[in-house]
Symmetry: C3
């Protein structure tokens, strides 16, 4: 790693300290499968989650929030208006919004809803797995429900181009995570296969990014800090597994490692590769 990566890891570290001291409020309109995990992960790193989806109150909630997380994991027609109302209000008040287009490739309903959200709301970060981001980018994808295909080739190119196209930060999670603001490309090598052995690690990553967004002026660092935190915690949790322990214990240990993540962890454990915009990707 060069000086630049060290600087970025230091920045991630400072952002995490900020979260712990300032306790940002993160409004979620999210799915019913992982809603509890997402709330817990926000608290685990020092934020305050609030889950609220009724159209009668989302404006009032988002007004008090430091950022807004929109996750379409169990998309229901009745929540789309709430997403748009909250998102527009967030934009108006300069509160950053992150989108997780869960399973966008699985149905026309999800695809068209995301298109509508993109028309109505300006997102600071869009985070998805390779299948989701490819679909968003207009490529043909093999989607299996809400899970990703495993083709990680060209992740960097897609992240960078889509970020440019949409004027947002794009984060693609997978074996290697690719993050771009349309200019520079950041590749995170942290991670652990066992993160796919439980549901919700993708949603939790988005909620962590949302928490970082609440205090960061630069969305790309929020995306890096959030994505890397999950990758490193995933590695550490795996190291702590003992005999006879599988995905159930892994889930508890993952939350432990997220909760105990401290200011030194990024610098000690972060594996980041940076390609500046001047370089071809």
């Amino acid at each position: 790693m060069n000086d630049s990566t060290q600087e970025i890891l230091k920045k991630c570290s400072n952002l995490l300290q900020d979260i712990k001291s300032k306790n940002p409020l993160i409004h979620h309109i999210t799915n019913y499968v992982t809603i509890n995990d997402c709330a817990n992960v926000v608290i685990a790193i020092g934020g305050s989650p609030v889950m609220a989806m009724d159209k009668n109150e989302v404006e009032d909630i988002v007004r008090q929030a430091d950022s807004l997380v929109i996750n379409i994991g169990t998309l229901q027609e009745s929540n789309i208006d709430s997403m748009i109302i909250a998102g527009k209000k967030a934009n108006e008040l300069k509160i950053p919004v992150v989108l997780d287009p869960v399973g966008i490739g699985a149905t026309a309903f999800r695809y068209h809803t995301v298109q509508k959200l993109l028309t109505e709301i300006k997102f600071s970060v869009i985070k998805g797995n390779m299948s989701e981001i490819k679909k968003l980018y207009g490529l043909k994808v093999k989607t299996k429900g809400v899970d990703s295909d495993t083709d990680q080739m060209n992740g960097g190119v897609i992240a960078k181009n889509l970020a440019n196209q949409l004027g947002t930060v794009v984060a693609i999670t997978g074996k290697e995570d690719c993050i771009s603001d349309g200019q520079d490309l950041y590749t995170i090598l942290n991670g652990e296969t066992m993160l796919t052995s439980i549901t919700g690690t993708g949603c939790m990553t988005t909620s962590i990014i949302g928490t970082f967004l609440g205090l960061s002026n630069e969305s790309v660092y929020a995306a890096i800090a959030g994505t890397m935190l999950m990758g490193i915690a995933g590695e550490k949790a795996h190291q702590l597994l003992r005999e006879n322990e599988g995905s159930g214990s892994y889930k508890a240990k993952l939350m432990d490692c997220i909760n105990l993540f401290n200011k030194d962890t990024y610098i000690k454990e972060g594996r980041l590769y940076v390609e500046k915009g001047s370089q071809s990707v």
Copy 2:
């Protein structure tokens, strides 16, 4: 502690034994974030939870129940009628009802819904954090989403006055828990900061109070028994944490301690302070 506190702890202990032998059925209309934790906590102490919110069946469900828990954590317009139908039927059948006005200070929607619930339903216990109860009491509050402000001053006065005003038992949870039936004031000193490191400990406390209500003729003892159980279990779970364990393991251990809570635990671990109504508070 004086004789009176010993008697109360003994009463809590007996109530818990009753739950384990009689297995009361606790109907919940609750939020989507902690619904699983609330169900598990009821089973853990010996009750049977049933979560049902469709207006087509809440009357049939509550009719079979020993108590009703109403929690507005992820309030949705479509559930308000169900809350009222179930609450009125419970009142008619003398089935006790407990209310957790989660985040009542966060939005006008929640505030007005709670006002409506208070008009339509007679609650045996209202349990909230300091921000929620202050809001209910008509005081100006600093609310942060669904979490509390930390001002615990005057908790006793507010609990007692609000209990009088609404003709119910009021339980304020926090560093010290204040419980009053409008006459006497009970302060519980048990608790552990780490209970705030996971979502749902407030909701779970309400569900535990609801379970005690199912078998108790005196609501105030149900409120004391339920609130203290969570406080003591929170302490014990903290003592069981090992190296490298954080909020994920704490959650599992908390449920363990709730599940293993036995008839001696109240008497050994309970820290209760009683001020009888004749005394000024």
Copy 3:
């Protein structure tokens, strides 16, 4: 055990290997209490869960799925159409469907909804506890919310007759599990009382059966494999409990044991009793 039971255990073992290599996609329309647990359990044995209930997308989702799980645990009017649309499409495409009629005896709303589902959809397996299956069979039952009565007598007769009557496989879970295709009767002796100390073990069993159904041509073996897997994992998790551990740790260990269940586990641990159709039951 005779040759026949050894053969069946071997078949269960092979089905599990198939799941791990082929990763079937399991569409769920399920309840909000245990939706996270059901998703995790499908991943834990090697499948991919997708939870989707909006009527705008259930046809698109089920089309991609290997099986469909319908669970009425927190039945809401708004989801009934989705269940029917998805179920009919699944039937049309020969995708197997499993039904968990949670709490069918608790309310007329649930009972009539199940009757409607039975009219519209052909189920490969119906799984319930004794109260639920008795209610479905038209017997008078003592139901307590969504939990079962404990009368296990005649389970075999009821399973076999109901299976015949509805032309489906019926699985009754309890102290002994009774499974029948209307012809033969299979009794599983595996299990552990502590499985009742947490919510969701019934729902998870149904989701596991659903995952087996995704790759099995013979529904009855999917029902046996799924039910027995939960019973054995429940036993193993109990053996792993240490001092001071209760239902919270048990839940994590149960998921561990489900996740670590391997091709030898059925053969080593399965306790199955088979009565061929020629024998009277």
